[in-house]
Amino acid sequence: MKDISSAIQLIPLENYVFLSVALFSIGMMGVLFRRNTIAILMCLELMFNSVNLLLTAFSAYHSDPAGQVFVFFIMIVAAAEVAVGLSIIVMMKRNVDSVDINLLNRLKW
């Protein structure tokens, strides 16, 4: 407990910022890269979690618990979003018999 809390002071805050930036970029790349809708939803979760990690890091370094409460609320919203998104995917599979995002390309324009 004591050495865990002293570990924060050894790691500069910049490292967490860089890690979150890397994760967010990987998630964005995945959204552009994949055609499978479920994989796109997973990459979306990756982006959500990079922001969560950044909020938690800032909250821990500033000693402000409000940031961690925000992360808790983001998790609540993410759970609701995943339930609705997966049911949309199930409906898409039922209607067009595929999870290919390119079949829905009329949503672009």
Binding site: E14, V17, R34, V77
Partner: protein
């Protein structure tokens, strides 16, 4: 401890890249679970034990199992070859890389290396978070139940065969 940070970060980055680049949806889910477990380790390293436990329960316990159930129900476990064209994939990688570089260059300039803040070690525990959650954020906490029930009704309506 610093070594632990770099180890968890390496696991997270590698698993995130594997989520993007591996083909089978089941493998994607497994790599995402490993990535989320490493993130729970990061939360413990940041002394946010409550968030670590909630993250393991909600993300790896509920959301990822939901993904697995949908993949099982839709029978997607065989690796379907769904690929964008080579131009689109290469440009996606370039866009992600440029986005990463721009954000990195923008955030490099904005911080001192060692930010000196007054440090308290006990607010990330359940009691500290609970005091804030039920004093200052009680109304949003109750409102989230409305969000949940509307999401549940919406998911059920989407899932029905003939409305």
């Amino acid at each position: 401890m610093v070594f632990l940070f770099y180890l968890l970060s390496a696991i997270m980055i590698i698993c995130a890249l594997l989520v993007v680049f591996s083909k089978s949806p089941i493998n994607n889910v497994i790599y995402l679970i490993v990535c989320f477990l490493a993130m729970a380790g990061h939360y413990i390293l940041l002394n946010a034990q409550f968030l670590a436990v909630v993250h393991v329960i909600v993300y790896t316990g509920a959301i990822m199992v939901l993904f697995l159930f949908v993949i099982m129900l839709l029978n997607l476990n065989k690796a379907i070859i769904l690929r964008k064209s080579t131009v689109t994939r290469v440009s996606a990688v370039i866009t992600g890389g440029i986005f990463f570089l721009v954000l990195l260059a923008a955030t490099r300039q904005t911080f001192e290396i060692h930010a000196k803040y007054p440090f308290a070690s006990d607010f990330g525990l359940v009691s500290g978070i609970g005091k804030v959650l039920f004093n200052e954020f009680l109304l949003p906490f109750e409102m989230s139940s409305i969000l949940f029930i509307s999401a549940m009704v919406g998911a059920l309506m989407f899932g029905k065969k003939d409305v």
